[in-house]
């Protein structure tokens, strides 16, 4: 069993790597590596796509690695390997990102990534810190998590899904913020599970044992 964290120069993968390695070791889920190589993605049993920063920059950096996105798409769409997107990695699953400019996403989960506009204008953007999750529908990766568990968010844009069935959890920040999306063999978290202490580690552990 091999889990690949895709590295495309988008921020710090160190803690994500350590969190996935720790939970892989605790659950006997094989090895976890960080790689930018399409051939590693091709042989991976599970794929994790992180991402920090702005949507257009992340998308460009990912596509600057020749063959990397194609390898991800082939593994996730054709071979149905379990996939987890984190933060911008989750947002790129959308149809479009509207940060600075319109950027096409992977279009795996229909919807747009738009700026957070809290109903109360005194609320700060970025949405930064711990917010409690409200689970919308049960999912194997959410096993053991309950409404009220906290996760660590830091983002200024959020994923508005077109089909509410694709939203697995949300939180409230002057309106609904999509926290987790999912469909078939893919899941995405707006928050950082590798920074979310016990609840985050539980989610990672569930993902590593998920057989969709």
């Amino acid at each position: 069993m091999l889990t690949v964290l895709v590295d495309y120069d988008s921020g710090n993968l160190h803690s994500a790597e350590k969190a996935f390695q720790r939970m892989a070791s605790e659950t006997g889920s094989g090895s976890v590596i960080v790689s930018s190589k399409p051939e590693d993605v091709a042989r991976a049993d599970r794929i994790v796509l992180p991402g920090d920063g702005a949507f257009p920059a992340c998308k460009k950096q990912l596509f600057d690695y020749s063959g990397l996105y194609e390898a991800i798409e082939n593994a996730v769409i054709k071979k149905a390997r379990p996939f987890m997107g984190i933060c911008i990695g989750m947002q790129m699953m959308a149809t479009r990102g509207l940060e600075y400019e319109i950027t096409p996403g992977f279009n795996w989960i229909p919807g747009d990534v738009v700026r957070i506009t809290p109903s109360d204008p005194s609320m700060k953007v970025p949405h930064m810190g711990w917010n409690d999750l409200i689970l919308d529908s049960p999912h194997p990766v959410l096993d053991g998590l309950t409404t009220g568990n906290h996760a660590y968010f830091v983002h200024s844009y959020h994923f508005v899904v077109r089909d509410s069935a694709h939203r697995l959890a949300h939180c409230d920040y002057g309106g609904d913020i999509t926290a987790i999306v999912g469909r078939d063999n893919m899941i995405g978290t707006q928050f950082h599970p590798e920074k979310s202490q016990a609840a985050g580690l539980r989610l990672i552990s569930n993902f590593l044992q998920w057989n969709p």
Binding site: N12, K124, M128, G129, W130, D132, F153
Partner: protein
């Protein structure tokens, strides 16, 4: 609902905690990683390391600390002190920091904030502002540990770095730092109300009520404290329960 954060800050010099953490039985109270683990277990919402003697020669010890902390604490970690260039930001992020804080370098050249935010995203760029009262309702930026006056208005500077792409402001009142007399609330409020990004209040905490005041009176999104936690006067849990009782949304799980 988003929770107000409590952030313990550890002053680090040459890889050692300057004032040891004494609230638990640590084998080595001067080891920042051990202290970080203790705060992780205690339910702190984030951690902050401040390299107070940052020099080019000793940067390596901070990278090593960031790496070892990120391996063991799955919570957000901010590192500041001596950060001058986007390369410094990159090195700290790669070592394991989640956010990096500019201080004097942002005063000397606010565009460094823009360059770092463009490259790494606003979410990981903090600007630490050290301000002193110069006349009632007027605060000025001081650098070099509060020794050097700049003539720059703190509120205007906060707006400038926000426009440059800072994701958060760590605001320290130099008048209050170390006094245990509470945050400088008018200063905190003036800046929190002037910018659209979160402001962390720092400097002067002596009681749990001071933390509450920082949020209610100062409009801070997060509160940072050092000595009241390091010396075991209050636990993180006690602080959170006190704030929750006062009506502030806190993460208590």
């Amino acid at each position: 609902m988003l929770k107000t954060r409590i952030i313990p800050c550890l002053d680090v010099a040459d890889g050692r905690v300057v004032k040891g953490v004494n609230f638990v039985d640590l084998i080595d109270a001067g080891d920042p990683v051990e202290s970080a683990r203790a705060y992780d277990a205690a339910g702190a919402d984030e951690l902050c390391f401040l390299d107070i003697h940052a020099t080019h020669e000793n940067r390596g010890t901070m990278y090593d600390l960031a790496t070892r902390t990120a391996e063991q604490c799955f919570m957000p970690l901010t590192i500041g002190g001596g950060v001058r260039t986007t390369e410094d930001v990159r090195d700290l992020l790669l070592a394991g920091a989640d956010k990096v804080s500019f201080n004097s370098a942002a005063v000397a050249d606010p565009d460094v904030v823009a360059r770092a935010a463009d490259r790494f995203g606003s979410q990981c760029i903090v600007v630490a502002i050290d301000a002193k009262t110069v006349s009632p309702g007027k605060w000025e930026i001081f650098t070099h540990g509060g020794r050097k006056s700049t003539g720059i208005d703190a509120v205007e500077f906060a707006k400038t770095v926000t426009a440059k792409g800072a994701g958060e402001i760590l605001l320290t009142s130099m008048d209050r730092d170390g006094t245990r007399a509470g945050f400088n609330l008018p200063l905190t409020r003036a800046i929190a109300d002037a910018v659209s990004i979160p402001v962390i209040a720092s400097g002067g905490v002596g009681t749990l009520q001071h933390l509450v005041d920082g949020v209610f009176e100062g409009h801070a999104s997060a509160v940072l404290a050092a000595s009241i936690f390091h010396f075991g006067e209050y636990t993180i849990r006690e602080a959170k329960e006190y704030m929750a009782k006062a009506g502030i949304a806190m993460r208590l799980e």
